[in-house]
Symmetry: C2
Subunit: 405 residues, 2 copies
């Protein structure tokens, strides 16, 4: 709470929280991964995604936006990680705690790091007759390297076997440290302050894409390093979906305006939305608003470690129906942290056990009319005693914007 | 040129160019891919990346930032593409020209679209004894779906064979239509205007991360839909690399400040940087500046369709050395369009033939001192008659910022 107040007091200045992490925290992360690797009997773990590399090495750059080059981090069963990366990243990686950094001059159409990666994997599994190499292959993961090169690496590391290491990574990354939670709290605070200024730039007759542009500007002014995600919508009786970019449609009296953002601070995301009434909205929209608020309140009161992801879906749906609302389809929340969304998913199918230290979004939606929905979202960290809000709880009544106010 | 003037006149307003593409243009893109598929003897092409899906379907959303769900587009040898996507995207996809849209309720841990995709692939290859299914597997590509699910799809589509379709996609996408070039020109114009305002927010004693934040704000004010990439650096005798995010280091007299951006308009990127002197810079920095300008001028004068990517690398290096400068390592430019960087790469190894209609960056760098570089970048479209600038040519002399000016 002290941190929140300090950040709010800085106004438009940068939050006082320091960037990066203590080297001890990185050591703990590697130790955690190596414990999971031992359980899965893995000799080496190969990571290729921006989030996984940042988590282990602290390597943070927007250069992942360029698909040109693959980046590899190899974690042995014991000992220190080895970075196998394009030379263009050596300087930045060298500023972090990883000391074994091997580079090649990418992109190289004949051998884009394949030989260097294979040599490294062989070295890290030396003495093993049939090494077991793990990399994430499951839900919510991608292998960020050319598929043909992956098959080349597999062939060249024979007789090693390749294992799905999704669980190895997810069971560690999903429990956030206090330092990680503090960064997500900073990102949430930035969005809180930007949402509080929406009345300054949204009104009847203004185009939705202009509102989106102003919203991003204000997120930067409030301290976001960058704004990786904005979405939203506007319309009578809710909006059509929650993933569209804005078009030039003008805001009209009676619209609900929704803005959603993943603003980033030091590599960590917030992900929550806010809804606004442009003048007076229809009674069924107000009723949906009340049902969504009540459903979130109930989960904030009752959620505990030991619940499963599917329990949250059930709780939210039950509450919405008790309040006369029809739950929307899809997942009603998810994990959050190094990417805009992380596992688990609040669906009827996800059995993941929720544990203290998980950062989650509660994201119930209500279908007001066919194809028209209203969606609420809050960001929380699950503690032993229940949820602790990271976003400032949305107002119970839709804030009214515009001249009619 | 008329377009440029119109956009400039709009100042802070939106560019007048219309969003989206004519349905005929999408039909031509599909026909182009199908011609390449015929040459490669492919029965169906599977696309999974944000850029490929936007190119074929017009499906544009920042929701790709969420790694939770895969998205598929299947192009048969003849006939119309089929979208196989999570239900959350049906509304947005339905606004475009694709009519065959099949959805599942993602994320589903037991079957995240695998069965629906396999059924679609079987349907599109019906009657073929051993269908040939292509998907990009080469340099600069990733398969954006869980690797385990890819292997499941392969097993379930047996006896189909899976082929690398990198060339199929790249030979089509690399030639930009006039409508695409116009959008990239809009993105470049936005960056041009933002670079012209750097003196308003960069000066001695200001922190680099604050300058980055202001730069992103100004890009939005000048009309960017969003800012997917900023990088840069500052220092005496150049900067250490060109991919780092900013830190809190204060700008000092004698620094060179570099800002680089990929600002996005209607899904199309610009990618160029600009350099500024914070007060007077050292003579070797000014000499590097002159050599870089001369090298770019030479390529602008001499580059023609029929040159190969490696020729551009050679031309730039020759010119830099003639002007007494030492070329930096790595690639000295690349393709540009739907992502921040596209193939080909201006390296000694890339033999790709350059053709009229390619949009490219010229990005020579000079090593001023060990680990300190200066990098210039311009965006061009290659015409039959040679390069046409899309960015406004950088000034020959480093613009001087700050009180010393």
């Amino acid at each position: 709470m002290a941190l929140d107040r300090k950040i709010e007091q800085t106004g438009k200045h940068l939050p006082p929280l320091s960037r990066g992490f203590d080297p001890l925290e990185y050591a703990e992360r590697v130790a955690g991964l190596q414990r999971q690797m031992a359980q899965a009997d893995l000799d080496v773990l190969l990571l290729t995604s921006a989030a996984d590399l940042y988590y282990v090495s602290g390597f943070l750059t927007r250069f992942w936006e360029s698909p040109a080059r693959p980046w590899f981090l190899c974690i042995p069963a014991t000992g220190q990680p080895v970075a196998v990366i394009p030379a263009i990243g050596a300087e930045l990686m060298g500023r972090g705690w990883i000391t074994d950094i091997r580079t090649w001059d990418a992109p190289d159409p004949s051998d884009d790091g394949v030989t260097l990666l294979v040599d490294t994997l062989r070295e890290l599994t030396e003495g093993r007759r049939q090494p077991r190499i793990g990399t994430p292959m499951g839900l919510e993961t991608h292998l960020r390297m050319p598929l043909a090169d992956y098959h080349r690496v597999r062939d060249m590391t024979a007789p090693a076997t390749w294992q799905d290491a999704t669980d190895v990574v997810q069971r560690v990354r999903e429990i956030k440290s206090e330092a990680e939670i503090a960064k997500i709290r900073v990102a949430c605070g930035i969005a809180d302050r930007a949402f509080a200024r929406v009345a300054d730039f949204a009104d009847v007759g203004l185009p939705l894409d202009g509102v989106f542009r102003q919203f991003q500007r204000v997120l930067l002014e409030e301290g976001a390093d960058w704004v990786s995600y904005t979405a939203g919508g506007a319309g009578q009786c809710g909006y059509g979906d929650v993933i569209s970019p804005a078009d030039g449609r003008l805001l009209q009296s009676g619209d609900v305006l929704m803005l959603d953002t993943g603003a980033v601070w030091d590599g960590y995301f917030c992900d929550f939305d806010r809804n606004y009434a442009i003048g007076a909205v229809a009674p069924d929209t107000a009723a949906a608003q009340a049902a969504l608020s009540a459903a979130i309140d109930h989960v904030l009161d009752t959620l505990r470690p030991g619940h499963r992801a599917c329990d949250v879906h059930r709780l939210l749906c039950e509450q919405l129906r008790q309040h006369g609302a029809e739950p929307g389809g899809g997942r009603l929340g998810h994990g959050l942290g190094l990417t805009l969304t992380e596992w688990p998913s609040f669906t009827p199918l996800d059995q993941t056990e929720l544990r203290a230290g998980m950062v989650l979004t509660l994201e119930p939606g209500v279908e007001i009319a066919p194809g028209r929905c209203l969606v609420h979202e809050e960001n929380i960290v699950l503690r032993d005693t229940g949820p602790e809000l990271l976003s400032t709880r949305a107002p119970r009544l839709l804030p009214v914007l515009g001249a009619q106010q």
